[in-house]
Each structure stands twice: as structure tokens, then as C-alpha cells.
């Protein structure tokens, strides 16, 4: 492969107890990619992201990072940023304090420098001037943007986004898509995104894997536009063409 692999999932089996969500999933995520994990509801997209960031321990298989280490969260400067579906901003802190948290925890920057970075990051996601607001004062879309600013505070090379456009109006969702494309193009940020928003998938996705609930496996991988136009798998075609299961073209 010409591109450097940032994350490699090897025979990853995820689930709990007797419930297996995905079995023996293997794939790689390359530097500079916008990698989409997609599939229908309940197939394990968000759970897959939790395994990739190390929040969960695989039932079998491994998730390896570029340096060969296994995905496991510990105490220390994080190697990537994560935006959760709800934003997961700390409710007791202002938006500015939320974005400043990783900076004050893992750098020796003076408070003035941290404030400057916070201001810049919030400006980047279109939230300039919201530093002193509490998360409860923000709309759903603003919370997600603030969470992206927090995820990017430490200039990670990789960012995980869980359903960034879910629950957003079309304009906000499109703006978020543009932001993701901009970050990828201009900063070379690698993006791993969980979504089933077709507009978003076709607009920002470079590579994707499609998870299937029934077969508990990856049923398609590659460029989402190509899969939409060329896939012969009825499950893939019904998903990309937004059709009920029994009406595959």
C-alpha cells in the first residue's frame, strides 16, 4: 500500500456475552482518508468506533495503531480526538473550558496561549464568541461543533466523529460536511466517521465499510459512490438507493 496505515483492525469480534455484533472484521484506515463506517440501525457502527478508540476490549482480534500498539485507553496525552454522538461536552464547564481542558491537561502552555488556541478552534468550527456559554445554552448542532473543536484542540492527526450530522437541519449538516472536507483537505486530518446519512457519505466519504446486522460482517468496502453505482449486493444497493429491503433495484 502506498499510504501509511494509521489503524488496522485484525479479525475484530465485538459484542458482549452471547451477543456478537460483528465477527472477524478486518480493515485498515490510511492517513489522509475520510473513512466512513456505515450500515443500518443496530449493526454496530458506533460500537465499532468505541473499539477503534480503545473504549472497549475486543472479544477476539485486535485493533493496532501505526506504532504497533493496541487500542487501549490509558492516562496520557491522547493520540486522536473523538466527537461523540451527543457531543459529550462536560455540562459543568463552559464551552471555552471544554475546549481548553485537553490543552491545560496535556501542555504547559500559559493560560493566555490556551485562550488564544481555544478562540481559534472555536472560530474554525464557526462558534467564535461562545467561549463563556454553557453547553446547555447551545443547540444540538453547536454542541457537535464545539465537540469537534475540543477533539481538535491538541492537533491530532486523526479524529473520530460519531454521527456528526444526526439530528441536524440540512443547512447545519451541509456546513458540518464542508468543515470536515476542509479539515481533511487543508490540514491533512484523517477522519473516521460513523454515519448513515447518505448525503454526507457521498459528499465527504473517500472510503467506507458497510456493516451488516444479519450476517454480522462487513459486506462492502471501497468508494461509497462506486459501491452505489456498481455493487451487485442487493443489501448494499438498497442502502445506497434508500429503498426498503424488498425493493432492491
Amino acid at each position: 500500500m502506498s499510504q501509511e496505515v494509521l489503524i488496522e483492525a485484525i479479525d475484530l469480534t465485538m459484542g458482549w456475552g452471547d451477543n456478537i455484533l460483528q465477527k472477524d472484521a478486518s480493515f485498515t484506515i490510511e492517513r489522509g482518508d475520510i473513512f466512513i463506517i456505515l450500515g443500518g440501525s443496530g449493526c454496530g457502527k458506533s460500537t465499532m468506533m468505541r473499539y477503534l478508540v480503545g473504549l472497549e476490549t475486543p472479544m477476539a482480534g485486535r485493533v493496532l495503531y501505526a506504532d504497533g500498539s493496541e487500542a487501549r485507553l490509558g492516562v496520557g496525552r491522547p493520540r486522536f480526538g473523538v466527537m461523540f454522538q451527543s457531543g459529550a461536552l462536560l455540562g459543568s464547564m463552559t464551552v471555552g473550558e471544554n475546549v481548553a481542558l485537553p490543552l491545560s491537561s496535556w501542555t504547559d502552555l500559559p493560560p493566555e496561549a490556551i485562550d488564544a488556541i481555544v478562540e481559534a478552534k472555536l472560530g474554525l468550527v464557526g462558534l467564535a464568541g461562545t467561549e463563556s456559554k454553557l453547553p446547555s445554552e447551545l443547540s444540538g448542532g453547536m454542541k457537535k461543533r464545539a465537540a469537534i473543536a475540543r477533539a481538535m484542540a491538541l492537533e491530532p492527526e486523526l479524529i473520530f466523529l460519531d454521527e456528526p450530522s444526526a439530528g441536524l437541519d440540512p443547512v447545519s449538516a451541509a456546513e458540518l460536511d464542508d468543515l470536515i472536507i476542509g479539515l481533511n483537505d487543508s490540514l491533512g486530518l484523517t477522519v473516521v466517521m460513523v454515519t448513515h446519512d447518505l448525503d454526507s457519505i457521498f459528499k465527504v466519504g473517500k472510503t467506507c465499510i458497510m456493516l451488516d446486522k444479519a450476517s454480522r460482517s462487513i459486506i462492502a468496502r471501497g468508494d461509497p459512490r462506486k459501491l452505489r453505482d456498481e455493487s451487485k449486493d442487493p443489501r448494499v444497493r438498497t442502502f445506497f438507493n434508500r429503498q426498503p429491503a424488498e425493493q432492491a433495484p
Binding site: 478508540v53 485507553l73 459529550a88
Partner: protein, 388 residues
């Protein structure tokens, strides 16, 4: 189809806007529905369908003739679909027939044109299964507690090695809300406890002319037992419940996960500021509790037992030893560890939504109260054994 009919006030079958007739058919039977079947008529429709179920034997074949139906809404169709499923469940067969295009659409939406899926029978759990589940749940809880204890000890060692790694910024805030904010209620409760105890004792002591011993009783029992224990109970209700609910909400809102992905260990970032804050404020609150408890006794001594305040104070000085206060303070630190530890552990193991937060908060308070009494009892026995 036109607008839905208005519900009828009376239940006279002849005045109903629908009719159900049972007729023999070539193969089996035919039920002819006619008129307007709407949700407004759900109750009489349900009753008639229940009666109809009793008319047919197992393995009967039925045609549900919808040819004369003028109106069918979702509520009525849901009952008809259930009726059809019941017939299937009893081994019979039933199909909707002769429906007009618009009626057929409604039938289709409610899957009335599809094969009936056999529902799995719900089997009640046996007593053995329930006991097994309860035992498994208990083992899981113990595992979670041990895991939390292990994580706490590992994180504590890491903080001892690198004190800067703890989240000290949150400590003053937590001291204020668990300590300073609790002072009024702690003072009031302990003053009343001293007062009530002295009142109860005063009647007996008067009979023996031993009024002065009220100072000994109040002084020793408040400093050794009641001051720290009542304070711990108040702090459990205030701060323990707050910790569990707060961390539980953070857990279900993915804030705890977000902290973990930022490389901030939950024990160091969330547990230690609360634990250390309680370890600092609980002994201080206990001292306040001791003082006001003794003051409560003084009020009774002066007003009900006619003792001079000086005599009461002198007797307190004679009766209460440094160890009495000290042992109470030692216990208060252990109480603080129990309150913060259990509350944080319960909060951080919350699953589900608001209901999970409520369950864990209740669990935290109940478990803590039980643990406080256990610790107090063990200490009392231990001090007695070692002659203190």
C-alpha cells in the same frame, strides 16, 4: 373514503355504524364486516371480535369479508389484525377478502395480507432461574466493586508518585459544596440529637438524683458515636447522592467516555477530587457536630435539670477524653472514604438512561448507610477489645 364517523354514545348494536355477520362458506366460514369500522367504535368492535373467537373451532378456515366496509381506520384495523393472529394461534386460518382498493391499502399497512408470524410464548422464569440471576447479579456487582477498588489503588499510587497528575483544581470547589454548604444542616441535626438524647435521659437521671451525669452521657456518646455518625448520614444524603447522580448522568451522556478519550483517567479526574474533599471536610464537620451536640445537652441540663452551665462544662471536661474525640474523627475519615467511594463507584457503573441514574443513586445511598453502620459497629467492638 369520507371523514371518520363520530363516536356513538349508546352501545345498542343496532345503532352501531358497523355490523358483523357470521355465514357458512364453501370451505369453512365467512365473517362479513359492513359499515364503518373506526377507532371510535373500538370497544364494541373488540367485544364482538372476542365473542366471534369463541364461535370457531381449532383449524377452522375463515374468510374475513371486507366487501361491505365503507370506512376502516388504523385503530380498527389493529384489532382486526389481532383477531386474525389469534385465529392463527389457535390453529385456524383467516384471510381478508373482497376489500376495495382503499381498504386493502389499510390492510397492507397493518400486514393483514401477510403470513402471521408465530409469537414466541413468554415463559415465566422459574424460581431457580430467578435465584440464579440474582446470584449472578450479586457476583457482577462484587466484581465491579473490586475492579473500582483496584483502579482506585492503582491511580492513588500514580498520584503519590506524581502528585501533579491529580485534578487538584476541583478540590476547593468540592470542599465548599460538601463541607461549607453542609454546615447549617449538620449543626441543626446534631444540636437536635443532643437535645433529644438529653431530654430522654433527664427523666431517668432525675429519679436517681444523678442529673449531672447527663454531661457524661451526652459528651461521650456524641463525640464517640453520634456526632460522626449523624454527620456521615447527612453527608450521605447530600453529597453521596449528589456524587452518584452527577457521575451517573455523566456516564449516560458519554461525558465519562469523552474524558477517557482525552487521556484523563476517570479515577484521577472525577473520583479523587470528591474523595479527598470528603476526607478533609468530614472530620471538620464532625468537630462542629460534637460541639453543637454538647450544646444541645447543655440546653436541657440548664432548662430541665436545673444544672448550672459551669457545672455541665466541668463535667464534660472530666468525662470526655481526647481519645473520645480522636476516635470519632478517625471514624469520620473512614466514613468519608466509604461515602465517596461507594457513591463514585455506583455513579460510574450507571447504565441506561434516567432510570439507571435513579437506581444507582438509590443504591449508593442504601449501600453507604449500611456500610456506615457496619464500620461504626466494627470500630466500637474493636475499641472495646483493645481497651479504648
Amino acid at each position: 373514503m369520507s371523514t371518520p364517523p363520530a363516536p356513538l354514545a349508546d352501545q345498542d348494536p343496532t345503532s352501531r355504524p358497523f355490523r358483523i355477520e357470521h355465514q357458512p362458506a364453501e370451505r369453512g366460514h365467512r365473517i362479513v364486516f359492513s359499515g364503518r369500522l373506526s377507532f371510535a367504535e373500538a370497544e364494541p368492535l373488540w367485544n364482538e371480535l372476542r365473542e366471534a373467537l369463541k364461535r370457531y373451532k381449532r383449524r377452522d378456515r375463515l374468510d374475513l369479508d371486507m366487501g361491505k366496509v365503507e370506512w376502516l381506520d388504523g385503530g380498527a384495523m389493529a384489532l382486526l389484525a389481532h383477531f386474525r393472529s389469534e385465529l392463527y394461534r389457535r390453529g385456524g386460518r383467516a384471510e381478508f377478502v373482497n376489500a376495495s382498493e382503499s381498504i386493502q391499502e389499510v390492510i397492507k399497512i397493518y400486514s393483514g395480507d401477510q403470513a402471521v408470524q408465530r409469537r414466541k410464548k413468554r415463559v415465566a422464569k422459574s424460581a431457580v432461574e430467578q435465584v440464579g440471576e440474582a446470584a449472578y447479579s450479586l457476583v457482577t456487582e462484587v466484581q465491579l466493586m473490586l475492579a473500582f477498588l483496584g483502579q482506585t489503588l492503582v491511580a492513588l499510587w500514580a498520584v503519590v508518585k506524581d502528585p501533579k497528575s491529580a485534578n487538584w483544581r476541583e478540590l476547593p470547589y468540592n470542599c465548599e459544596r460538601t463541607g461549607a454548604d453542609a454546615v447549617p444542616i449538620v449543626l441543626l441535626i446534631n444540636f437536635l440529637v443532643g437535645l433529644v438524647m438529653a431530654f430522654q435521659a433527664s427523666v431517668q437521671l432525675k429519679r436517681f438524683g444523678a442529673q449531672i451525669l447527663v454531661a457524661d452521657l451526652i459528651g461521650i456518646s456524641v463525640t464517640r458515636e453520634l456526632g460522626p455518625l449523624m454527620t456521615a448520614i447527612v453527608v450521605t444524603g447530600r453529597s453521596g447522592a449528589a456524587f452518584a447522580a452527577e457521575l451517573g448522568s455523566m456516564k449516560v451522556n458519554e461525558e465519562v467516555d469523552a474524558l477517557r478519550t482525552m487521556g484523563l483517567g476517570t479515577t484521577r479526574y472525577l473520583v479523587f477530587p470528591r474523595l479527598f474533599a470528603l476526607m478533609i471536610v468530614m472530620p471538620l464537620l464532625s468537630v462542629f457536630a460534637d460541639v453543637v451536640g454538647i450544646l444541645g445537652g447543655l440546653v436541657v441540663a440548664v432548662t430541665a435539670l436545673d444544672l448550672a452551665p459551669v457545672a455541665y462544662w466541668n463535667e464534660i471536661h472530666k468525662a470526655v477524653k481526647v481519645w473520645d474525640v480522636g476516635s470519632g474523627l478517625i471514624k469520620s475519615v473512614l466514613f468519608a472514604i466509604a461515602i465517596a467511594g461507594i457513591a463514585c463507584q455506583q455513579g460510574l457503573t450507571t447504565e441506561g438512561g434516567a432510570e439507571g441514574v435513579g437506581r444507582r443513586t438509590t443504591g449508593a445511598v442504601v449501600s453507604t448507610l449500611f456500610t456506615l453502620i457496619m464500620i461504626d459497629s466494627l470500630f466500637t467492638i474493636f475499641f472495646r477489645l483493645v481497651g479504648k
